[in-house]
């Protein structure tokens, strides 16, 4: 039972990674990160249930808060990107090229 929840969390997390590394669309990448956060949340809640302690719930709330902050900033960046480059492609950021 518990393991099933955790396995689901793992699967979602891996799908999130997949989204980050295989897509170039900024929005999709961003939402994949949200997905990974959600997967983590699920694991927290599950463990919280197992241990019958509500610290996991608190943690999940914090993650939500972080996710909200992240969303605000990331979307601001996306707007800037769109404004200056007119693109939604992560490959626009290539200043790191050696």
């Amino acid at each position: 039972m518990i393991q099933d929840y955790l396995i689901l969390s793992v699967i979602l997390f891996c799908l999130g990674i997949l989204g980050v590394i295989s897509r170039r669309n900024v929005f999709t990448v961003f939402m994949s990160i949200e997905l990974m956060l959600n997967a983590a949340n699920l694991a927290f809640i599950t463990f919280s249930r197992v241990h019958e302690s509500m610290d996991g719930h608190v943690m999940a709330m914090m993650i939500m808060a972080v996710a909200a902050a992240e969303a605000a900033l990331a979307l601001a960046v996306v707007i800037l990107l769109h404004k200056h480059k007119g693109k939604l492609d992560t490959n626009v950021f290539s200043l790191l090229k050696g």
Binding site: L8, V58, M61, H82
Partner: protein
């Protein structure tokens, strides 16, 4: 029995939603399928008797954050030709899966090694607003305050970043 059926349904939905997110080309569709995942996760939280989180998942995640994302997508008025041309998308996907399988295997192995634990019946009020609130404001007060600061910073940052009109001039 009923809980198990529900679990399987929610799990299937959330996975489908996640797969949709990865596969849809247009972010709007992706966002929609992510919302499916979010809602099914909320259902799973309910199954885990986390009432407050269930509510918050629906309100904050599925409600606030996702609507913010969708709002921005619509605000930018994204057309098909705005989207990046991702020719090797499926190649990347295949490669990604190949790379991820060991990670998944490893994590699943870890999960399997956790001793099986049948859900016991939890006491009354587990995961309720009051109980979580008590924990939050007693044990987790300082982190909570710091998170609020973080939100404030993010707020200001977002305003500064998005508000710069003449950045490149």
């Amino acid at each position: 029995m009923f809980a198990e059926v529900l679990f399987i349904a929610f799990a299937a939905l959330s996975i489908l939603g996640a797969i949709g997110l990865i596969l849809f080309r247009h972010p709007m569709k992706g966002a929609m399928s992510l919302i499916v995942t979010m809602i099914s996760l909320a259902g799973l939280y309910a199954l885990l008797s986390a009432e407050l989180i269930f509510v918050l998942q629906l309100i904050v995640y599925a409600g606030a954050i996702m609507s913010l994302i969708i709002f921005i997508i619509m605000f930018l008025n994204i057309q098909d030709n705005d989207l990046p041309i991702e020719e090797g998308r499926y190649l990347y996907l295949a490669g990604g899966i190949a790379v991820i399988i060991p990670i998944a295997c490893f994590m699943i192995k870890v999960v399997k090694s956790i001793p099986a634990h049948q859900a016991t019946i939890v006491g009354n009020g587990f995961g309720g607003v009051k109980e979580v609130g008590l924990v939050l404001f007693q044990d987790w007060l300082l982190p909570f305050e710091i998170v609020s600061l973080l939100l404030l910073v993010a707020l200001i940052g977002a305003v500064v970043l998005a508000g710069k009109r003449r950045l490149l001039k």
